[in-house]
Amino acid sequence: MSAILRSPGSTKQVITMAIPIFGQIHLASFLIPASAGVTKFRTLNKAMRILAVLCLFACLDVILQVLLSMRNVKNYFISDYYRVIETSFLCAVFYYSVAPKGVRDVLRGLGIIFAVIWGADVIWFNSHDQISSGMAMISRAFVLAMSLIALQATLRDERSNLVERPIFWVAMGAILYSSGTLLLVGLSNQLLALGQSYFVAAWHINWTLLIIANLFYTKGMLCKSQA
């Protein structure tokens, strides 16, 4: 199988390469949370419903990117728009999962700041001819910050067992993925400049962490306690 490799970092050219088996597994892993979200949608709480929708968007994003790359069409803009959707939705997921008003206000503030930065990037800096690795890194940093804040707020709530709470798994997935890929997306241009083999080798980290994150999201949606 060959496809255009979607990179969270910026690329100045279309790279057509064969996707390794692990990359294909990573693509397939998007279906797991999406299908869990669809099947369990009625039983999910508000935050998890938002996550389910995000997972569907992720599937759509992947499908579109693959289709466009197969037709040799540039697909960077999809990643740019998906990035704001992903960050905003995760912000909403965390916002509705935590109770303290102060934490909610901080999350909302981070969401707004990110939206402003993203808007500025889209209007003034991003030409859509290339993927903005800087914006990707900022997005990861915001998600990481929001995840840690949400997790800390969740840990303060001593009402129930942590592993039984959906937000714990979602936050954990987001933390692992964001922290593990923060540097990767920031240096993706440099890696591409070294050569495709270097990039693919490094990109296994991204695939691995995405698979883990998808599994964690799925676990979050399958938690019995949706209060």
């Binding site: 942590l162 890696l191 050569g195 083999s197 270097y198 980290i205 962490l209």
Partner: protein, 530 residues
């Protein structure tokens, strides 16, 4: 691969790994911290659970009934076995049904108190068990902090109430007796006072409970009697005797008193049970009876003596008439006359004594008392000084009496003369006639009299009155309050003798300085005479 490329690749991988490890480490620290908190919370929960189990055990095993209910709806959400047994119920539904039968007033009282003050304590309720048996419960409840629920503790006091009822019945029985029954502590403090005591002394139970008996019933010098009785009770555990007690109205009564030590049921402390019978009246009747007997003895004695004197004086009086023709000188005739008058005077005295002693049978006929009194008053009126005013109240219809006119005249004349003499400074002599039916109260004082209608003739003066100590003696023969030689002391004795022979009786009522009233009661014949 070039060396620089590999190094960059390893730098990216290493950097990502470090970031990942840092993130994971941070998460692990957070989770560990949370776990410790959770463990502490778990321990706390365990403690709460243990405590709950302990209290649940107390709840389930308590001998007192415990239940949780809604103050507003009385819906019972939890109840222990004890309350189920108490009400004879086997399920919460049964208990709910049982509680719904509580009197409305009780439900309202409980609701009001718990709502207003947050609790209700030891509220007694009478209701029925499921099987219909009587149930008295002591109900205490406290509102719980959260919500409208309250927790109630219910104790079965049926046996206690039944016992109290029995005590009440026994107390009611004690109240039935006319004797005064009281219980006092060894220091004389009254702890029980029955209805008989209330009637006898005029002090109510509330007034007497907690007061010292000695202070209220034993006035002045009488306290010594109380102290002597207490000394005896300390030594012999019982005392019987007679005491003078002071009533609430200040009147003194004589009581036959029986004291016994008794032990208090709950602590064995000694108390004194006192039963008092009012014997004031009994004593008075006894003394009246003794006096009557004494007078009867005197009458017999004087009657016998009078008879002998009559036998002595009669020949002397008759001899005077025989001697008169044989004596011709003036001094001799004068002596004979003096002897004759003395003998006649002696015979008159003897006749009076005989009248007192056995009464004079005379001839009994229907007599209109008004006519008799009217004739006597016509006679008396002439002898009254101007300072004495006579008032007659003789109008109306009066039944006849069976009697001797002359004897009755003597009675009324005697009384009128006494009344006149009692008013040396003047006053009003009132004579009145009335008809009455002798009641129990009147006959109690005159036990020889019969029931039925009586004609009452009252002779009242506004004179000096008779001293209390003399009142009891005025009917005794030869008793007089007049100066020596101015009266024989037989007038009232003879009057009483005559009235008694007519099956009647005389009463006297006198207040020193205000006057005296004599009432002559004569049994009336059935048909009235105008």
């Amino acid at each position: 691969m070039q060396v620089a490329g590999v190094e960059i690749l390893w730098a990216v991988v290493g950097g990502s790994a470090i970031l990942l490890i840092l993130a994971i480490g941070y998460v692990v620290v957070l989770v560990q911290s949370h776990r410790r908190v959770m463990q502490a919370q778990q321990a706390k929960l365990e403690e709460v659970r243990t405590s709950e189990e302990k209290f649940r055990g107390i709840f389930d095993n308590s001998l007192a009934g415990i239940m949780k209910f809604s103050v507003d709806t009385w819906a019972i959400s939890d109840a222990n076995e004890a309350i189920m047994d108490l009400c004879g119920c086997s399920s919460l539904e049964d208990l709910q049904s049982c509680m719904s039968k509580l009197p409305r007033s009780s439900l309202e009282s409980i609701h009001d108190s718990v709502t207003k003050y947050g609790f209700i304590a030891e509220y007694e309720i009478r209701t029925t068990r499921k099987d219909g048996g009587e149930l008295w419960m002591l109900f205490s409840a406290k509102k719980m902090e959260n919500g409208p629920s309250a927790q109630a503790v219910v104790v079965d006091i049926t046996k206690r109430k039944q016992f109290e009822e029995k005590i009440k019945e026994q107390r009611a029985l004690l109240d039935q007796t006319q004797d005064a029954i009281m219980v006092v502590d060894y220091d004389g403090t009254v702890t029980f006072w029955n209805a008989g005591a209330e009637m006898m002394y005029g002090w109510s139970r509330d007034e007497m409970t907690g007061r010292v008996l000695e202070e209220l019933l034993y006035g002045g010098a009488r306290r010594k009697d109380f102290q002597e009785a207490m000394e005896d009770i300390h030594r012999f555990k019982e005392w019987n005797g007679e005491h003078y007690h002071t009533r609430k109205d200040g009147k003194e009564i004589l009581v036959e008193s029986r004291w016994r030590t008794v032990a208090k049921a709950f602590n064995g402390k000694l108390q004194i049970l006192i039963v008092n019978s009012d014997i004031t009246e009994k004593k008075r009747l006894e003394s009246q009876f003794i006096r009557a007997q004494k007078m009867e003895s005197v009458a017999l004695l004087t009657g016998g003596m009078a008879h002998d004197l009559q036998n002595i004086l009669a020949p002397i009086a008759m001899s005077i008439h025989l001697l008169e023709p044989k004596v011709h000188d003036e001094p001799g005739l004068a002596i004979l006359k003096a002897v004759g008058e003395s003998a006649q005077s002696g015979l008159d005295l003897v006749k009076n004594i005989l009248t007192y002693g056995r009464g004079i049978a005379g001839e009994r006929a229907a007599v209109n008392v008004i006519h008799v009194v009217d004739q006597v008053l016509s006679l008396v009126e002439r002898g009254l000084p101007e300072s004495v005013h006579l008032e007659r109240k003789l109008s109306g219809q009066t039944p006849s009496v069976l009697g001797d006119v002359n004897q009755l005249k003597q009675v009324f004349l005697n009384l009128c003369v006494n009344a006149r003499d009692a008013m040396p400074a003047g006053g009003v002599l009132t004579v009145a006639i009335a008809n009455i039916d002798a009641d129990e109260g009147l006959l109690e004082y005159n036990p020889h009299a019969d029931r039925g209608p009586y004609v009452v003739t009252s002779v009242a003066d506004t004179g000096t009155g008779i001293r209390e100590e003399d009142v009891d003696r005025i009917f005794e023969p030869f008793f007089t309050t007049r100066e020596q030689g101015s009266g024989t002391g037989l007038g009232l004795s003879i009057a009483q003798g005559i009235v008694k022979s007519h099956k009647g009786f005389i009463t006297v009522q006198s207040v020193v300085g205000e006057g005296t009233t004599f009432r002559v009661y004569l049994p009336a014949l059935v048909e009235p005479v105008s």
